[in-house]
């Protein structure tokens, strides 16, 4: 029993040291990780609404979004949407005008199958933006649908529909709420 106790102590001490090291590392990297996330969000916002000169982060009934301003007047919204894709959650930002026309979509994070679902944010050689997301520009956010407006990615129908459906319901719920 005495020996068991000694073993436990040694393991406990090692665990304690490990936790301390990790806590310190976490404290050091945390601000940097958050800054990176904000940086990516800002880059996505700029790509979606290049004309806007300032963005204001807001929350409405749990929906996180940005108001985009151009010369002091409201020019659109950028919604943070989470879609349930094939391999996990897809986090994206969709930019819409106040009357519900999509201005652009950017994927922040996804875990779709490499080669298939991962094409949702694939940039083709010689092009600047992802070809799948480009299809959304100019479509009405509340009615956008695969087949009708959007060509699904070959072999990745679920991913394509997940993105499209999440934008449609997300925008619908948001526009109803924001009008009120």
């Amino acid at each position: 029993m005495n020996q068991m106790f000694k073993f436990g102590m040694i393991l406990g001490v090692i665990c304690l040291l490990a936790t301390l090291v990790l806590a310190a590392t976490y404290q050091v990297t945390k601000p940097k990780i958050e800054a990176q996330m904000r940086l990516e969000e800002q880059a996505a916002l700029k790509a979606i609404l290049p004309a806007a000169d300032s963005f204001k982060e807001k929350t409405l009934d749990g929906i996180e979004y940005f108001e985009a301003f151009k010369g002091g007047s409201l020019s659109g919204y950028c919604l943070k949407i989470t879609a349930s894709g094939y391999g996990g959650y897809i986090r994206l930002i969709a930019g819409i005008t106040p009357d519900g026309v999509i201005k652009g979509v950017r994927i922040l994070e996804h875990q779709e199958t490499p080669g298939l679902g991962s094409q949702i944010d694939q940039v083709k050689p010689g092009e600047k933006d992802p070809w799948f997301l480009r299809q959304f520009v100019g479509k009405s956010a509340r009615t956008v649908a695969v087949k009708k407006d959007i060509d699904a990615i070959t072999g990745a129908t679920i991913s394509s529909e997940a993105v499209t459906g999440a934008i449609r319901t997300g925008a619908d719920v948001f526009l109803l709420k924001v009008k009120r």
Binding site: A18, T25, T29, Q111, P114
Partner: protein, 196 residues
């Protein structure tokens, strides 16, 4: 000279991927593009070096019976450090490797080296061993991912080489990975046994 031997053996003679056939999950899962392969290789090398040093340092303090849990804790610590730093300084890479960064903790190469080598050897030699194994693992990953990316996507490290053929998608998917490593090991066996 002996130090050099510890380093060199991991590169070819005891290459973890092609010779010992260990640590396959990350090898196959992340080798869809060269940049992923390099990222995974470097991350695993860092974990190998870190854990090998510490395992070697505590090798005389830790009793035989609890050594595996102790080694695992040390390895998991380094994995988490890599994970956090990757998130902070290379979020894109961290995202494309996804859950395979925490999975380095169960990479058989890391625990295998801790158990087979650094729990018996002094720190300096353990570093050389880790460095050799890490680089051996990294070049294997780069080779596999280069083949898969070239054939499956028509590019190497994101640069498009040829658009003259429609890349067979299956090389990027799971079957392509298994086929690539199977044929590579077969080829290596063929050439090494022939020489003898």
């Amino acid at each position: 000279m002996k130090m050099m031997g510890e380093f060199i053996k991991g590169l070819w003679r005891e290459n973890p991927t092609f010779r010992i056939v260990l640590g396959l999950c990350p090898t196959l899962a992340v080798s869809t593009s060269v940049s992923n392969g390099i990222g995974m290789g470097v991350a695993a090398t860092f974990v190998l070096i870190g854990s090998n040093i510490f395992v070697s340092l505590v090798r005389n303090i830790v009793p035989e019976k609890v050594r595996i849990p102790c080694f695992i804790v040390i390895i998991a610590t380094f994995v988490t450090i890599v994970d956090l730093f990757m998130k902070a300084y290379s979020p894109a890479l961290s995202r494309s490797l996804g859950m395979f960064v925490p999975l380095i903790v169960v990479n058989c190469i890391v625990l295998g080296r801790a158990e087979a080598f650094s729990s018996k050897e002094p720190p300096l030699r353990s570093i050389m061993d880790a460095l050799g194994m890490g680089i051996g693992f990294t070049w294997a990953l780069i080779l596999i991912s280069a083949i898969r990316e070239l054939l499956g996507n028509g590019s190497i490290a994101g640069i498009y080489i040829s658009r003259s053929f429609e890349p067979p998608l299956f090389m990027i998917l799971a079957p392509g990975a298994l086929l690539t490593i199977g044929l590579l090991i077969g080829m290596i066996n063929y050439f090494t046994t022939k020489r003898r």
